[in-house]
Protein backbone atom coordinates (compact mmCIF):
# COMPACT_ATOMS: atom_id res chain seq x y z
CA UNK A 1 0.00 0.00 0.00
CA UNK A 2 1.43 3.46 -0.95
CA UNK A 3 1.43 6.49 1.41
CA UNK A 4 -1.36 8.21 -0.59
CA UNK A 5 -3.59 5.17 -0.60
CA UNK A 6 -3.08 4.70 3.17
CA UNK A 7 -4.11 8.38 3.73
CA UNK A 8 -7.19 7.82 1.61
CA UNK A 9 -7.99 4.74 3.70
CA UNK A 10 -7.44 6.74 6.94
CA UNK A 11 -9.66 9.56 5.67
CA UNK A 12 -12.33 7.08 4.65
CA UNK A 13 -12.13 5.46 8.09
CA UNK A 14 -12.38 8.89 9.75
CA UNK A 15 -15.44 9.80 7.71
CA UNK A 16 -17.04 6.46 8.54
CA UNK A 17 -16.38 7.02 12.27
CA UNK A 18 -17.80 10.57 12.06
CA UNK A 19 -20.90 9.24 10.31
CA UNK A 20 -21.37 6.55 12.96
CA UNK A 21 -20.98 9.13 15.76
CA UNK A 22 -23.43 11.46 14.02
CA UNK A 23 -25.88 8.59 13.66
CA UNK A 24 -25.54 7.65 17.35
CA UNK A 25 -26.09 11.28 18.42
CA UNK A 26 -29.09 11.56 16.08
CA UNK A 27 -30.63 8.33 17.40
CA UNK A 28 -30.17 9.51 21.01
CA UNK A 29 -31.68 12.88 20.10
CA UNK A 30 -34.66 11.25 18.37
CA UNK A 31 -35.16 8.85 21.28
CA UNK A 32 -35.14 11.84 23.61
CA UNK A 33 -37.76 13.66 21.55
CA UNK A 34 -40.02 10.60 21.50
CA UNK A 35 -39.51 9.93 25.22
CA UNK A 36 -40.23 13.49 26.28
CA UNK A 37 -43.06 13.78 23.76
CA UNK A 38 -44.69 10.69 25.23
CA UNK A 39 -44.05 11.79 28.78
CA UNK A 40 -45.33 15.29 28.05
CA UNK A 41 -48.51 13.96 26.47
CA UNK A 42 -49.09 11.54 29.34
CA UNK A 43 -48.44 14.27 31.86
CA UNK A 44 -50.85 16.63 30.06
CA UNK A 45 -53.57 13.99 30.00
CA UNK A 46 -53.02 13.12 33.64
CA UNK A 47 -53.18 16.76 34.63
CA UNK A 48 -56.44 17.07 32.71
CA UNK A 49 -57.95 14.40 34.93
CA UNK A 50 -56.10 15.25 38.12
CA UNK A 51 -58.97 16.21 40.32
CA UNK A 52 -60.12 15.69 43.80
CA UNK A 53 -63.69 15.36 44.98
CA UNK A 54 -63.97 19.07 44.44
CA UNK A 55 -61.33 20.35 42.05
CA UNK A 56 -61.05 22.52 39.01
CA UNK A 57 -59.58 22.37 35.54
CA UNK A 58 -58.07 25.43 33.93
CA UNK A 59 -60.26 27.51 31.63
CA UNK A 60 -58.53 30.78 32.31
CA UNK A 61 -57.83 31.81 28.72
CA UNK A 62 -60.81 34.17 28.56
CA UNK A 63 -60.42 35.76 31.98
CA UNK A 64 -60.44 39.59 31.83
CA UNK A 65 -61.45 39.43 28.15
CA UNK A 66 -64.82 40.21 26.58
CA UNK A 67 -67.02 37.13 26.65
CA UNK A 68 -67.50 35.91 23.06
CA UNK A 69 -70.94 36.93 21.87
CA UNK A 70 -73.40 34.35 20.56
CA UNK A 71 -77.03 33.95 19.59
CA UNK A 72 -78.64 30.63 20.55
CA UNK A 73 -82.20 29.33 20.76
CA UNK A 74 -83.75 28.90 24.18
CA UNK A 75 -86.03 25.99 25.05
CA UNK A 76 -89.06 28.22 24.50
CA UNK A 77 -87.86 29.10 21.02
CA UNK A 78 -86.55 32.61 21.72
CA UNK A 79 -83.25 33.90 20.41
CA UNK A 80 -80.83 34.56 23.25
CA UNK A 81 -77.97 36.92 22.47
CA UNK A 82 -75.33 37.29 25.16
CA UNK A 83 -74.59 40.95 24.42
CA UNK A 84 -78.24 41.78 25.16
CA UNK A 85 -77.46 41.07 28.81
CA UNK A 86 -74.88 43.86 29.07
CA UNK A 87 -75.39 45.61 32.41
CA UNK A 88 -76.21 42.35 34.14
CA UNK A 89 -73.96 39.81 35.84
CA UNK A 90 -74.17 36.62 33.81
CA UNK A 91 -73.40 33.06 34.81
CA UNK A 92 -72.83 31.02 31.66
CA UNK A 93 -73.04 27.35 32.61
CA UNK A 94 -72.20 24.69 29.99
CA UNK A 95 -73.79 21.35 30.87
CA UNK A 96 -75.38 18.18 29.44
CA UNK A 97 -78.07 15.75 30.53
CA UNK A 98 -75.48 12.92 30.74
CA UNK A 99 -73.27 14.93 33.09
CA UNK A 100 -73.66 13.87 36.73
CA UNK A 101 -71.69 16.75 38.31
CA UNK A 102 -73.80 19.22 36.31
CA UNK A 103 -76.94 17.93 38.04
CA UNK A 104 -75.46 18.71 41.46
CA UNK A 105 -74.99 22.38 40.58
CA UNK A 106 -78.46 22.89 39.14
CA UNK A 107 -80.44 23.21 42.39
CA UNK A 108 -77.76 25.65 43.57
CA UNK A 109 -78.20 27.76 40.44
CA UNK A 110 -81.97 27.68 40.93
CA UNK A 111 -81.58 28.97 44.50
CA UNK A 112 -78.95 31.57 43.54
CA UNK A 113 -81.08 32.83 40.63
CA UNK A 114 -83.93 33.40 43.11
CA UNK A 115 -81.61 35.06 45.60
CA UNK A 116 -79.72 37.42 43.27
CA UNK A 117 -82.05 38.02 40.31
CA UNK A 118 -83.23 41.36 41.73
CA UNK A 119 -79.60 42.51 41.95
CA UNK A 120 -79.08 41.86 38.24
CA UNK A 121 -78.05 38.22 38.01
CA UNK A 122 -78.86 36.24 34.87
CA UNK A 123 -78.02 32.57 34.68
CA UNK A 124 -77.84 31.00 31.23
CA UNK A 125 -77.50 27.23 30.97
CA UNK A 126 -75.98 26.07 27.69
CA UNK A 127 -76.90 22.48 26.94
CA UNK A 128 -74.21 20.66 24.98
CA UNK A 129 -76.44 17.65 24.30
CA UNK A 130 -76.57 16.24 20.78
CA UNK A 131 -79.78 14.35 21.48
CA UNK A 132 -82.15 17.20 20.66
CA UNK A 133 -84.29 19.80 22.35
CA UNK A 134 -87.08 17.51 23.58
CA UNK A 135 -84.83 15.50 25.89
CA UNK A 136 -83.23 18.66 27.25
CA UNK A 137 -86.63 20.29 27.83
CA UNK A 138 -87.90 17.26 29.73
CA UNK A 139 -84.74 17.17 31.83
CA UNK A 140 -84.95 20.90 32.58
CA UNK A 141 -88.53 20.46 33.75
CA UNK A 142 -87.59 17.52 35.97
CA UNK A 143 -84.78 19.56 37.52
CA UNK A 144 -87.10 22.57 38.00
CA UNK A 145 -84.75 24.98 36.23
CA UNK A 146 -85.96 28.57 36.63
CA UNK A 147 -83.27 30.15 34.49
CA UNK A 148 -82.75 30.46 30.75
CA UNK A 149 -81.57 27.30 29.01
CA UNK A 150 -80.28 27.44 25.44
CA UNK A 151 -79.26 24.70 23.04
CA UNK A 152 -75.50 24.97 22.58
CA UNK A 153 -73.44 24.62 19.44
CA UNK A 154 -69.91 23.34 19.02
CA UNK A 155 -68.90 26.70 17.56
CA UNK A 156 -69.92 28.43 20.79
CA UNK A 157 -68.06 25.83 22.84
CA UNK A 158 -64.98 26.42 20.68
CA UNK A 159 -65.27 30.19 21.19
CA UNK A 160 -65.18 29.51 24.95
CA UNK A 161 -61.97 27.52 24.80
CA UNK A 162 -63.32 24.14 23.74
CA UNK A 163 -65.43 23.39 26.83
CA UNK A 164 -64.24 19.78 26.84
CA UNK A 165 -65.14 18.94 30.43
CA UNK A 166 -68.58 19.61 31.87
CA UNK A 167 -69.71 21.47 33.84
CA UNK A 168 -67.78 24.52 32.70
CA UNK A 169 -68.96 27.88 33.99
CA UNK A 170 -68.01 31.42 33.04
CA UNK A 171 -68.79 34.35 35.33
CA UNK A 172 -69.31 37.49 33.28
CA UNK A 173 -69.32 40.99 34.73
CA UNK A 174 -71.84 43.72 33.90
CA UNK A 175 -69.34 45.12 31.39
CA UNK A 176 -69.35 41.85 29.42
CA UNK A 177 -65.90 40.74 30.55
CA UNK A 178 -65.21 37.27 31.88
CA UNK A 179 -64.15 37.67 35.48
CA UNK A 180 -63.64 33.98 36.24
CA UNK A 181 -64.15 30.55 34.74
CA UNK A 182 -64.28 27.12 36.29
CA UNK A 183 -64.30 23.66 34.73
CA UNK A 184 -65.55 20.91 37.01
CA UNK A 185 -67.76 20.77 40.06
CA UNK A 186 -67.07 23.29 42.80
CA UNK A 187 -68.95 24.05 46.00
CA UNK A 188 -72.06 26.22 46.19
CA UNK A 189 -70.22 28.79 48.31
CA UNK A 190 -67.48 29.11 45.66
CA UNK A 191 -70.15 29.62 42.99
CA UNK A 192 -71.84 32.23 45.15
CA UNK A 193 -68.54 34.05 45.73
CA UNK A 194 -68.02 34.26 41.96
CA UNK A 195 -71.56 35.54 41.48
CA UNK A 196 -70.97 38.26 44.06
CA UNK A 197 -67.81 39.31 42.22
CA UNK A 198 -69.73 39.49 38.95
CA UNK A 199 -72.52 41.52 40.56
CA UNK A 200 -69.96 43.94 42.02
CA UNK A 201 -68.64 44.92 38.58
CA UNK A 202 -69.53 48.15 36.81
CA UNK A 203 -71.51 48.18 33.58
CA UNK A 204 -68.93 50.46 31.99
CA UNK A 205 -66.11 48.58 30.30
CA UNK A 206 -62.69 49.60 31.56
CA UNK A 207 -60.10 49.92 28.80
Amino acid sequence: MSIDSSRVAENAGGHRMANILTLVVAILFIAGIIFYGTRGARSARQSAVKVGAIGTLSTEGLNNKMAPDFELSSLDGKKVKLSDYRGKAVVLNFWATWCGPCKIEMPWFVALENQYRAQGLEIIGVSMDDSGKDGVEKFAQQMGLNYTVVMGKDSVGEAYGGVEGLPTTFYIGRDGKVIDSVSGLISKSEIEDNIKKALATSATAKS
Binding site: N19, T22, L23, A26, I27, F29, I30, I33, I34, Y36, G37, T38, G40, A41, A44, R45, Q46, A48, V49, K50, V51, G52, A53, I54, G55, L57, A96, T97, W98, C99, G100, P101, C102, K103, I104, M128, D130, F139, E164, G165, L166, P167, S183, G184, L185
Partner: protein
Amino acid sequence: MRIWLLALLALAVSAAAAQDFPPGGKPQWVELVSSSTPVIQVAATGGAKTTLEFRVKPQMHINSHQPHSGLLIPTELALSAPKGITLQPQYPAGHDINLPFESEKLSVYTGEFSIEVNVQAKGTSPVKVMVPAELKYQACNDNSCFPPKTLKFELEVQVAQ
Protein backbone atom coordinates in the same frame (compact mmCIF):
# COMPACT_ATOMS: atom_id res chain seq x y z
CA MET B 1 -26.64 9.92 5.03
CA ARG B 2 -27.70 13.46 5.95
CA ILE B 3 -30.99 13.09 4.08
CA TRP B 4 -31.73 9.93 6.06
CA LEU B 5 -30.93 11.70 9.32
CA LEU B 6 -33.19 14.62 8.42
CA ALA B 7 -35.98 12.20 7.49
CA LEU B 8 -35.56 10.35 10.79
CA LEU B 9 -35.61 13.63 12.67
CA ALA B 10 -38.78 14.78 10.90
CA LEU B 11 -40.40 11.42 11.66
CA ALA B 12 -39.51 11.68 15.33
CA VAL B 13 -40.84 15.22 15.61
CA SER B 14 -44.09 14.16 13.91
CA ALA B 15 -44.38 11.15 16.25
CA ALA B 16 -43.87 13.30 19.32
CA ALA B 17 -46.34 15.92 18.06
CA ALA B 18 -48.89 13.24 17.22
CA GLN B 19 -48.79 12.03 20.81
CA ASP B 20 -49.63 15.48 22.09
CA PHE B 21 -52.39 15.95 19.53
CA PRO B 22 -54.19 12.67 18.86
CA PRO B 23 -56.59 12.40 15.90
CA GLY B 24 -59.42 14.85 16.42
CA GLY B 25 -57.23 16.89 18.76
CA LYS B 26 -58.88 15.49 21.88
CA PRO B 27 -57.73 12.58 23.98
CA GLN B 28 -59.34 9.16 24.14
CA TRP B 29 -60.18 7.96 27.65
CA VAL B 30 -60.21 4.29 26.60
CA GLU B 31 -57.66 2.29 24.65
CA LEU B 32 -57.79 -1.16 23.07
CA VAL B 33 -55.11 -3.18 24.83
CA SER B 34 -55.32 -6.54 23.07
CA SER B 35 -57.41 -9.10 21.25
CA SER B 36 -57.25 -12.76 22.27
CA THR B 37 -57.02 -13.78 18.61
CA PRO B 38 -55.23 -11.46 16.17
CA VAL B 39 -57.15 -13.14 13.34
CA ILE B 40 -60.58 -14.60 14.14
CA GLN B 41 -60.73 -17.93 12.29
CA VAL B 42 -64.20 -19.28 11.64
CA ALA B 43 -65.46 -22.24 9.59
CA ALA B 44 -67.76 -21.55 6.62
CA THR B 45 -70.68 -22.68 8.76
CA GLY B 46 -69.53 -22.32 12.29
CA GLY B 47 -68.67 -20.04 15.16
CA ALA B 48 -65.71 -18.54 16.95
CA LYS B 49 -65.11 -15.99 19.64
CA THR B 50 -62.54 -13.42 20.57
CA THR B 51 -62.02 -11.33 23.66
CA LEU B 52 -61.14 -7.67 23.35
CA GLU B 53 -59.34 -6.09 26.30
CA PHE B 54 -59.82 -2.37 26.89
CA ARG B 55 -58.27 -0.06 29.42
CA VAL B 56 -59.90 3.06 30.89
CA LYS B 57 -57.46 5.84 31.80
CA PRO B 58 -56.61 6.19 35.50
CA GLN B 59 -59.07 8.26 37.59
CA MET B 60 -61.71 7.94 34.88
CA HIS B 61 -64.80 5.77 34.54
CA ILE B 62 -67.15 5.09 31.66
CA ASN B 63 -70.77 4.00 31.88
CA SER B 64 -71.26 0.25 31.56
CA HIS B 65 -73.41 -1.22 28.80
CA GLN B 66 -76.38 -1.05 31.15
CA PRO B 67 -76.16 2.12 33.22
CA HIS B 68 -78.75 2.53 35.94
CA SER B 69 -80.15 5.76 34.48
CA GLY B 70 -81.70 6.25 31.05
CA LEU B 71 -80.01 9.66 30.89
CA LEU B 72 -76.57 8.12 30.86
CA ILE B 73 -74.89 7.04 27.64
CA PRO B 74 -74.13 3.30 27.62
CA THR B 75 -70.93 1.77 26.29
CA GLU B 76 -71.66 0.13 22.94
CA LEU B 77 -69.49 -1.83 20.54
CA ALA B 78 -70.72 -1.37 16.97
CA LEU B 79 -69.46 -3.98 14.49
CA SER B 80 -70.11 -3.57 10.77
CA ALA B 81 -70.19 -7.22 9.73
CA PRO B 82 -70.24 -8.14 6.05
CA LYS B 83 -73.07 -10.26 4.61
CA GLY B 84 -72.99 -13.87 5.81
CA ILE B 85 -71.13 -13.11 9.04
CA THR B 86 -72.62 -11.97 12.33
CA LEU B 87 -70.64 -10.51 15.21
CA GLN B 88 -72.36 -10.25 18.57
CA PRO B 89 -70.67 -8.48 21.49
CA GLN B 90 -71.15 -9.82 25.03
CA TYR B 91 -70.64 -7.05 27.54
CA PRO B 92 -69.34 -7.53 31.06
CA ALA B 93 -71.49 -6.42 33.97
CA GLY B 94 -70.52 -3.01 35.26
CA HIS B 95 -69.50 -2.47 38.83
CA ASP B 96 -71.42 -0.07 41.02
CA ILE B 97 -69.71 2.98 42.45
CA ASN B 98 -70.82 5.86 44.62
CA LEU B 99 -69.65 9.31 43.67
CA PRO B 100 -70.02 12.52 45.67
CA PHE B 101 -72.25 14.03 42.98
CA GLU B 102 -74.65 11.11 42.55
CA SER B 103 -77.31 10.13 45.02
CA GLU B 104 -77.72 6.83 43.19
CA LYS B 105 -75.05 4.30 42.35
CA LEU B 106 -73.49 4.33 38.91
CA SER B 107 -72.78 1.19 36.90
CA VAL B 108 -69.37 1.72 35.32
CA TYR B 109 -66.24 0.20 33.84
CA THR B 110 -62.91 1.30 35.30
CA GLY B 111 -59.37 0.05 34.75
CA GLU B 112 -59.36 -2.95 32.41
CA PHE B 113 -62.50 -4.58 31.08
CA SER B 114 -63.15 -7.04 28.30
CA ILE B 115 -65.86 -7.54 25.69
CA GLU B 116 -66.31 -10.97 24.17
CA VAL B 117 -67.32 -11.07 20.51
CA ASN B 118 -69.13 -14.13 19.16
CA VAL B 119 -68.64 -14.64 15.43
CA GLN B 120 -70.95 -16.77 13.32
CA ALA B 121 -70.56 -17.62 9.64
CA LYS B 122 -73.59 -18.89 7.77
CA GLY B 123 -72.41 -20.82 4.73
CA THR B 124 -70.03 -18.05 3.84
CA SER B 125 -67.45 -18.53 1.11
CA PRO B 126 -63.83 -18.52 2.24
CA VAL B 127 -62.82 -14.92 2.72
CA LYS B 128 -60.61 -12.68 4.83
CA VAL B 129 -62.23 -9.40 5.86
CA MET B 130 -61.44 -6.44 8.05
CA VAL B 131 -64.51 -5.63 10.12
CA PRO B 132 -64.75 -1.97 11.20
CA ALA B 133 -65.43 -1.69 14.93
CA GLU B 134 -66.41 1.34 17.01
CA LEU B 135 -66.45 1.45 20.79
CA LYS B 136 -68.80 4.27 21.79
CA TYR B 137 -68.51 5.49 25.36
CA GLN B 138 -68.84 8.48 27.63
CA ALA B 139 -66.30 9.15 30.36
CA CYS B 140 -66.30 11.09 33.61
CA ASN B 141 -64.02 11.56 36.56
CA ASP B 142 -64.96 12.63 40.08
CA ASN B 143 -66.01 16.15 39.13
CA SER B 144 -66.24 16.46 35.35
CA CYS B 145 -67.82 14.59 32.47
CA PHE B 146 -66.52 14.54 28.93
CA PRO B 147 -68.42 14.37 25.63
CA PRO B 148 -69.19 10.95 24.15
CA LYS B 149 -66.31 9.49 22.17
CA THR B 150 -65.77 6.75 19.63
CA LEU B 151 -62.71 4.49 19.60
CA LYS B 152 -62.27 3.06 16.10
CA PHE B 153 -60.39 -0.12 15.24
CA GLU B 154 -60.73 -3.21 13.02
CA LEU B 155 -61.17 -6.92 13.61
CA GLU B 156 -59.72 -9.38 11.12
CA VAL B 157 -62.04 -12.30 10.38
CA GLN B 158 -60.99 -15.25 8.21
CA VAL B 159 -63.66 -17.64 7.00
CA ALA B 160 -62.15 -21.02 6.14
CA GLN B 161 -63.49 -23.86 3.96
